[in-house]
């Protein structure tokens, strides 16, 4: 026998910690159908029963306005749920009980967990659990989630409840007073005319939502054949209640619910001690008028360094490991299609996926840590003014800054933003923030065409341009896509808490594995497609392969000293690859497509090699740093400088043969910044925004915007007399 328990509660009530404590590490993480709200489920065994636990998103209410609330409300009303477990934060009981008053209307057995009783005790709040049980009409188990206190008792209780052997659940609902109850009864009568409506949820619950003027409830009613009768009754009820009680339905119902919660708290809990809490003392510093921002910048710098500087170490190991593997395979397998598929397709593809994992895990760990301590809400509090001016939310700041390390985890970090609108806008503009992979392209190009000082200026300018565009696009998207009032900024500043290390580790692991399984396949498929385009048909040309083998053997026969032989072999390999790539499908496409890029990269129609840029940029779709290695192949010149020289052979070749001028080189950099997010980012946008549509939209606007700005660069530069 298996039963499903829904875990419901406010944000910050310790629900997820409790979920981890109940289910151990056997989790399944996915999304709720149709939305990008995380769905976590797990199971535990007790007394021979398998109890499935579903962790609902933390919500303050079931009013079904935000995605989170809609998911929670729909799931709770579904027949799948056998038992509701309402987690209450003992140190913030009154507001937590508001949600309970709604849960009690659902007509399902409700049990309560009084979590973080230690926090409450330390503030001088003592709660009479027996009295609370009586008043709530359901069993209450006190726990300290992060120390697993009360968990065995809770598991035993859940098993008893699941078997239906307990008589401790009585049905208790808020008494809304004579007038409202009268109207509720009338509405219920009308609702019960439609059996389907009656079955979908308790009629009283629907009636309450109608009186609250809830849009979702009204939509439900509009679909019913009894909709006319119900709306008529609703109009009558409003006409009666408003003048009679001096306020609209929503206010009256909220007042009664809080009245219930307030009365209950008075009955069962002692008042908290006067005096400053540890949280207030910490906030006196952390959100201080003058200190708040410097401390925030310091914490941000720390997170950034840990993620992208420390995270770069394992990232380099992985990249080098795969490179060594690919070199080894290339040296020991016969040249040909299969080897190329492995060496140039599969291995770099897998590498392009796995290389992200350390950074994702570290950054997500840091963010989970900030979130669990309660600091994330303060960060949003501090930065909101600035971000609001840009049409974004205080919580958008961290993803945007982290984007300058790598866009992929930055987009994942946008999960902390509750409002769907704000999150979507943040996700869509983050790719404009210049990441460290694009930096590698700038370094090669700027280093070739500018003096070191001007090159540094140009590179810095790219980063500011990216941030500026992100802000601008944020404003444009806000007004174009979400006309109307922006989502309210009503954000709780929860008490500071010490996070549970295990929860942070679980979170890191989940983020890493979700990336590998969901985004990994997309990146891998894209990398393979690009390999195919850039190697065929040349790679299948037997004659070329045979020639290459002969040349290698000829070099080997010279019996040159080790280093020289290696150099010669490398030059041969580069020449062979160059021949393949320069006649590939990608090259043909590049030649066809180069007129499109002519206005920005070849305004004077003098460059014979402009099509090579197209191949490099196409390959850069897999990962921006590949632009450089692809250029090395196409121009048949190594991108590693020889000892004692400032420019690498690739840079010399670009300077002397490519036909790029300083101005078009700058346009190339601008275009590289904007033209499209890399595959990893695209895969992440698709996952986090919830559709391929948004991923496609990001690519499309990037191409248009990138082209436009590169063109402006060229035109303005020429007008100013640069070449």
């Amino acid at each position: 026998m298996s039963l499903t328990i829904a875990l419901a509660g406010n944000p910050n009530c310790g629900k997820t910690t409790l979920f981890n404590a109940l289910t151990g590490s056997r989790h399944h993480v996915g999304n709720w159908p149709g939305v990008t709200v995380e769905r976590r489920s797990g199971a535990f065994e007790q007394d021979g029963l398998t109890l499935e636990v579903v962790d609902l998103p933390g919500t303050y209410s079931l009013a079904a306005r935000s995605e989170d609330e809609r998911v929670a409300a729909q799931f709770l009303a579904s027949p799948e749920v056998d038992l509701v477990l309402n987690v209450l934060d003992a140190s913030n009981l009154e507001r937590n009980l508001y949600l309970s008053t709604q849960l009690l209307e659902l007509g399902k057995p409700v049990a309560f967990v009084l979590n973080m009783v230690d926090d409450a005790e330390s503030r001088g709040v003592h709660i009479d659990v027996a009295a609370l049980e009586t008043l709530l009409g359901g069993p209450v188990i006190p726990t300290v989630g992060n120390r697993a206190q009360g968990i065995p008792e809770l598991k035993a209780l859940l098993a008893v409840l699941a078997r239906g052997e307990s008589t401790r659940c009585r049905r208790i609902t808020v008494d809304y007073g004579h007038d409202i109850e009268g109207e509720l009864a009338k509405l219920e009568t009308e609702i019960c005319r439609d059996e389907k409506l009656e079955e979908a949820m308790p009629p009283r619950w629907l009636a309450l939502q109608l009186l609250e003027n809830n849009a979702e409830a009204k939509r439900r009613v509009a679909e019913s054949h009894a909709s006319e009768a119900i709306s008529q009754q609703l109009t009558k009820s409003f006409a009666f209640l408003e003048p009679h009680l001096g306020a609209d339905g929503a206010t009256l119902i909220a007042e009664r619910r809080y009245g219930f919660a307030h009365g209950l708290v008075k009955e069962v809990a002692t008042a908290p001690d006067e005096g400053r809490t540890p949280t207030a003392r910490l906030d006196a510093v952390l959100t201080h008028r003058w200190l708040g921002i410097p401390i925030f910048v310091g914490i941000l710098a720390l997170v950034y360094s840990v993620s992208f500087i420390l995270g770069k170490i394992p990232q380099d190991w992985i990249a080098e490991g795969f490179k060594a593997l690919s070199d080894f395979a290339g040296a020991h397998l016969p040249a040909g299609e299969l080897t190329s598929l492995l060496v140039d397709g599969v291995i770099p593809g897998v590498s392009a996926v796995i290389v992200f994992v350390p950074v994702i895990m570290i950054l997500m760990g840091c963010i989970a840590f900030l979130e669990d301590t309660g600091y994330m809400a303060r960060a949003a509090f501090i930065m909101d003014r600035l971000m609001h001016v840009m049409g974004l939310h205080g919580k958008s700041f961290i993803p945007l800054i982290m984007g300058s390390g790598c866009n992929v985890p930055a987009i994942q970090a946008a999960r902390t933003i509750e409002s769907r609108q704000d999150r979507l806008i943040t996700i869509l503009v983050t790719p404009l923030v210049s990441c460290s992979a694009r930096l590698q392209v700038y370094i090669v190009i700027a280093g070739t065409f500018f003096t070191p000082f001007k090159a540094a200026l140009a590179i810095i300018a790219m980063h500011f341009l990216g941030l500026g565009l992100a802000v601008l696009m944020g404003r444009i998207l806000r007004s174009a896509l979400f006309a109307g009032p922006s989502s309210p900024f009503v954000m709780e500043l929860p008490p500071y808490r010490l996070p549970v290390l295990k929860a942070t580790l679980i979170h890191m692991w989940e983020k890493g594995s979700v990336f590998l399984t969901r985004a990994g396949t997309t990146i891998f498929a894209g990398a393979t497609l690009i390999w195919f385009l850039s190697r065929y048909p040349g790679i299948a040309n037997q004659e070329w392969t045979a020639q290459y083998q002969e040349q290698r053997q000829a070099v080997a026969a010279l019996k040159l000293p080790g280093a020289e032989e290696e150099d010669r072999l490398r030059a041969l390999q580069l020449a062979h690859e160059s021949r393949i790539v320069n006649t590939s499908l990608a090259a043909r496409l590049g030649q066809k497509a180069s007129p499109l890029l002519r206005p920005i990269l070849d305004p004077e129609h003098k460059r014979a090699e402009a099509w090579k840029d197209v191949i490099a940029l196409t390959a850069g779709f897999v990962a921006k740093e590949i632009v450089v290695s692809t250029m090395a192949v196409i121009h048949q010149a190594s991108d590693e400088p020889k000892a004692g020289e400032r420019l690498s052979p690739l840079q010399v070749s670009l300077r002397d043969n490519s036909g790029l001028s300083p101005l078009t080189a700058l346009a190339f950099m601008v275009f590289t910044l904007i033209y499209t997010p890399c595959l990893g980012t695209v895969a992440m946008i698709r996952r986090e925004a919830g559709s391929w549509g948004w991923a496609g939209f990001t690519i499309a606007y990037g191409l248009v915007l990138g082209w436009g700005l590169a063109w402006v660069t060229v035109v303005a530069g020429r007008a100013l007399g640069f070449a």
Binding site: Y98, N213, T251, E255, Y258, D283, A377, F489, M491, E492
Partner: protein, 81 residues
Amino acid sequence: MTQNLSIPLSDLQPGDQGEVIQVKAQGQIRQRLLEMGFIRGARLRVEKLAPLGDPMELVIKGYHLSLRRDESACILVHRVA
């Protein structure tokens, strides 16, 4: 309690206490504010403003909450001594 004028919550200064008279916002924001405890008679205290002057932090129903000026301007309160 002295009966004084109703003023928007955004006019309270850090350290001031107030009592909610009415939430004037409409739609989503109204419902959200009601749920968060801004009901008639609820006591609140303004803790501080963010370093850049907006949003504000306040204590209501025993917990800390931050509101932008956009939202706090549509909550009417009495100042309470």
